[in-house]
C-alpha cells in the first residue's frame, strides 16, 4: 500500500528535517553568539540591497542633475545629492554591489590561492617549504596597502585590477596560517596511509589535506572580507581604485566630499557610514566564526 507514494511527498519528508536542522542551527548560533548573529544580519541586508539595487534605488546612480547639485537631504533626495546632482542614496545602494564584488572576489581568490600555497608548502616540506616560506616572508614585509598600491600602479585601475591588487597581499597571510595547520595534518596516520597506498601528491593534497584545513580557510576568508572592502574603499578614495562614474563608497568620499564637507556634510557622512557598517558586519561575523571554530588560532 505504501508503494504509490508520490515522489513529492518523499522529497518533502526527507527535506523537512534538514530544513529544521538549519533553523535550529541558526537559532543556536544566535543564542550563543549574539554578536556574530548581528554581523550575519548586516551581511544579509547588504546582500539583499546589492541584489535588489535596481528596485531599491530611487534614481539612476549615474544620472546627473546640474539644477540640483549639493542639495541637502529632503523628501525627494533622502540623503541629498552630490556635486554632480547625483542622488547619494542611489549611489550608496549601487555602491554595495561594487563593495561586495571586490570584497568577495579578492578574498575568495586570495584565500583560495593562499590555501594551495600553504598546504603544498607543508606537504612537500624540506627545501620547497623553506623556499616558499622565504618568498612569503618577502611579501609579508610590505604593509598591506603599499603592496596593493604597487599592483594597482602596474595593472591600472578599475574593478578587476583592484580586485587582483587586494588579492595579492592576502595570499601570504592565508598561506602562513594554513601552513601551520597543514603541518600537523601531514603527520596524521591517514595521510601516511594514503602515501603508503601509493596515491599521488595531487590526490593526497586535494582529497586528504585540503578538506581538513577548511576551518582556518573559512576563518581567513571571513576575516579578509571586511578588510578587502575597506582596502577597496581606501584605494578608491586615493583615486587608484574604482573609477568614476561607477558607484563606489570610497570614491564618493573623494574630492568634492572633502572640499564641500562643511557645506554639504551628507556627501561625506553617508558613504562613510555605509563602509563602516558593511565592514562592521563582516568583522563581527568573522570574529564570532573564529571564536566558534578555533579560539586558539591567532591571526592578524
Amino acid at each position: 500500500m505504501a508503494i504509490n507514494v508520490p515522489a513529492e511527498t518523499i522529497a518533502e519528508v526527507s527535506l523537512a528535517p534538514a530544513r529544521r536542522a538549519w533553523i535550529a542551527a541558526a537559532i543556536k548560533f544566535t543564542r550563543q553568539r549574539p554578536i556574530g548573529a548581528l554581523g550575519a544580519a548586516i551581511i544579509l541586508v547588504m546582500a539583499a540591497v546589492a541584489s535588489l539595487a535596481g528596485v531599491l534605488a530611487p534614481y539612476d546612480p549615474l544620472a546627473t542633475d546640474y539644477g540640483g547639485m549639493l542639495a541637502p537631504p529632503s523628501a525627494t533626495h533622502w540623503l541629498g545629492t552630490d556635486a554632480f546632482g547625483r542622488d547619494v542614496l542611489s549611489r550608496i545602494v549601487y555602491g554595495s554591489r561594487t563593495a561586495l564584488l571586490v570584497g568577495f572576489g579578492a578574498s575568495v581568490l586570495g584565500a583560495t590561492l593562499g590555501v594551495f600555497v600553504g598546504v603544498a608548502s607543508a606537504y612537500f616540506g624540506g627545501r620547497v617549504d623553506l623556499l616558499v616560506q622565504r618568498v612569503m616572508d618577502i611579501f609579508l614585509s610590505f604593509p598591506l596597502i603599499v603592496l596593493a598600491l604597487a599592483v594597482v600602479v602596474i595593472l591600472g585601475t578599475g574593478v578587476l585590477n583592484v580586485t587582483l591588487a587586494i588579492m595579492v597581499p592576502m595570499i601570504p597571510r592565508c598561506a602562513l596560517v594554513v601552513r601551520s595547520s597543514a603541518l600537523a595534518i601531514r603527520e596524521m596516520p591517514y595521510v601516511e596511509a594514503a602515501r603508503a597506498a601509493g596515491f599521488g601528491h595531487a590526490r593526497i593534497i586535494f582529497r586528504h589535506m585540503l578538506p581538513n584545513v577548511m576551518a582556518p580557510y573559512l576563518i581567513m576568508l571571513t576575516a579578509f572580507l571586511g578588510q578587502a572592502i575597506l582596502l577597496e574603499a581606501s584605494l578608491s578614495f586615493l583615486g587608484l581604485g574604482v573609477q568614476e562614474p561607477t558607484a563606489a563608497w570610497g570614491l564618493m568620499l573623494r574630492g568634492a566630499a572633502v572640499e564641500f564637507a562643511e557645506a554639504a556634510p551628507w556627501m561625506a557622512l553617508f558613504p562613510g557610514l555605509a563602509i563602516s557598517l558593511g565592514v562592521f558586519g563582516f568583522s563581527l561575523f568573522g570574529d564570532s566564526l573564529r571564536d566558534a571554530l578555533d579560539p586558539k588560532l591567532r591571526t592578524l
Partner: protein, 318 residues
C-alpha cells in the same frame, strides 16, 4: 645566545635582498618612466627621441637593468641611497624629515592603541560572555570597521562646525614648537590608534582567557591569593607576550602604511611620499623607500624574537 643573534641577524639579509629584487622588478614593469612622464605630458608629440634618450642617460636609465641593480646595492652597502630621479635631491634628504613625522605619528598611535587595548582586553576577558565583553568587542570591531580617513574627515568637520577651529595643517617639527606639533598630530594619532587597538584588544582578551584557565591560576586562587595580585603578578605577566608582538608588528606597519590617513590630515609623511614617488615613476626614491619600510618591519620582528627569549625563559634558542 650571541651565536643565535648573529644567525638571526644574518637571516634578515636574504629576505631584504628578496624585497629589493621584488620592488626593483615590479617598478620596471610599471608602464612609463620618469623621463616620459616629465617630457611627454599629454600627447607626447613634442618630445624628441634623441632628447629623451639623453634625459634617460642623465638619470641612469640607459644602463642595463643588472647594472642599475648592482649600483643601487653597492650604494646601500656604502649607506648612500643616491639621488631622486624626479627632484634630483639626495634621497636621504627627501626621506629624513618625512621619516621623523611618520615615526612620531606611529609612536603616538601605538601609545593610543596600547592604552585602549590592554585595559579593554583584560576587562573583556574577566567578564567573558557578558554585556561588558560584548560592548568591548563591538567597540573595538567598530574601530576596525571605520576607515580612519573617514574618521579623520568627521573629526575635522566636527572641529569646524562645533568649535570653528581647525587643527594646524602645516607640519611643525616637535623640536621647533611642541604645542603646534602635538595640536596637529594628536588627531590622526587618535584616529589611527583607535583603529589599530582592535587587533591588540582581541589578542589581550584571548591571551588572558587562555592564561586564566591555567593550573597555576587555579592554585593561586585556591590558596586564597588576592584577585588583584593574581591578575597582575600571575596572569597579566604571562598574557602580555603575544600582545606585545601584535603591538610591535602593528607599529612597524604604521610607519609606512598610513598612506590614506596622511592624505586626509595633509601630513607629508612616508606614505604620501610613496604615492608621489610611484606616480612620478621615481624608481630610485620608491625602491629605497620600500626597502626602508620593509627593513623596519623585519628588524622589529628580529627584536621581538630576541625579546621573547628575555621575557619567556621557556623559549630556548638554538
Amino acid at each position: 645566545m650571541g651565536k643565535y643573534i648573529l644567525k638571526r641577524f644574518l637571516l634578515m639579509i636574504p629576505t631584504l635582498l628578496g624585497v629589493a629584487v621584488l620592488v626593483f622588478v615590479l617598478l620596471r614593469v610599471v608602464p612609463g618612466d620618469v623621463v616620459e612622464l616629465r617630457f611627454m605630458s599629454g600627447e607626447g608629440q613634442f618630445a624628441d627621441p634623441q632628447m629623451l634618450a639623453m634625459e634617460r642617460a642623465k638619470v641612469g636609465l640607459d644602463k642595463p637593468m643588472w647594472k642599475q641593480f648592482l649600483d643601487w646595492m653597492w650604494g646601500i652597502v656604502r649607506l648612500d641611497l643616491g639621488v631622486s630621479m624626479w627632484t634630483g635631491a639626495p634621497i636621504t634628504e627627501e626621506i629624513k624629515l618625512r621619516f621623523a613625522l611618520s615615526l612620531q605619528l606611529a609612536i603616538m598611535a601605538t601609545v593610543v592603541a596600547t592604552l585602549l587595548a590592554i585595559p579593554l582586553g583584560i576587562l573583556a576577558a574577566l567578564k567573558q560572555d557578558t554585556w561588558v565583553d560584548y560592548t568591548v568587542r563591538v567597540f573595538s570591531i567598530a574601530g576596525l570597521a571605520m576607515p580612519s580617513f573617514w574618521l579623520g574627515i568627521l573629526m575635522i568637520l566636527g572641529f569646524l562646525v562645533i568649535f570653528k577651529w581647525l587643527p594646524p595643517m602645516v607640519y611643525t617639527p616637535l623640536w621647533v614648537n611642541p604645542w603646534q606639533n602635538l595640536a596637529q598630530l594628536i588627531w590622526p594619532a587618535l584616529a589611527v590608534g583607535y583603529r589599530y587597538s582592535a587587533v591588540a584588544t582581541r589578542m589581550t582578551r584571548s591571551a588572558m582567557l587562555e592564561v586564566l584557565r591555567e593550573d597555576y591560576i587555579r592554585t593561586a586562587r585556591a590558596k586564597g591569593l588576592w584577585t588583584k595580585l593574581i591578575l597582575t603578578r600571575h596572569a597579566l605577566k604571562n598574557a602580555m607576550l603575544p600582545v606585545l608582538t601584535v603591538i610591535a608588528l602593528e607599529f612597524a606597519f604604521l610607519l609606512g602604511g598610513l598612506v590614506v590617513t596622511e592624505q586626509v590630515f595633509n601630513l607629508n609623511g612616508l606614505g604620501m611620499l610613496f604615492v608621489q614617488a610611484i606616480s612620478h615613476r621615481d624608481y630610485t626614491l620608491t625602491q629605497s623607500l620600500v626597502l626602508l619600510v620593509a627593513f623596519v618591519f623585519i628588524f622589529v620582528n628580529f627584536l621581538m624574537d630576541l625579546l621573547y627569549g628575555r621575557l619567556d625563559p621557556r623559549i630556548r634558542y638554538r
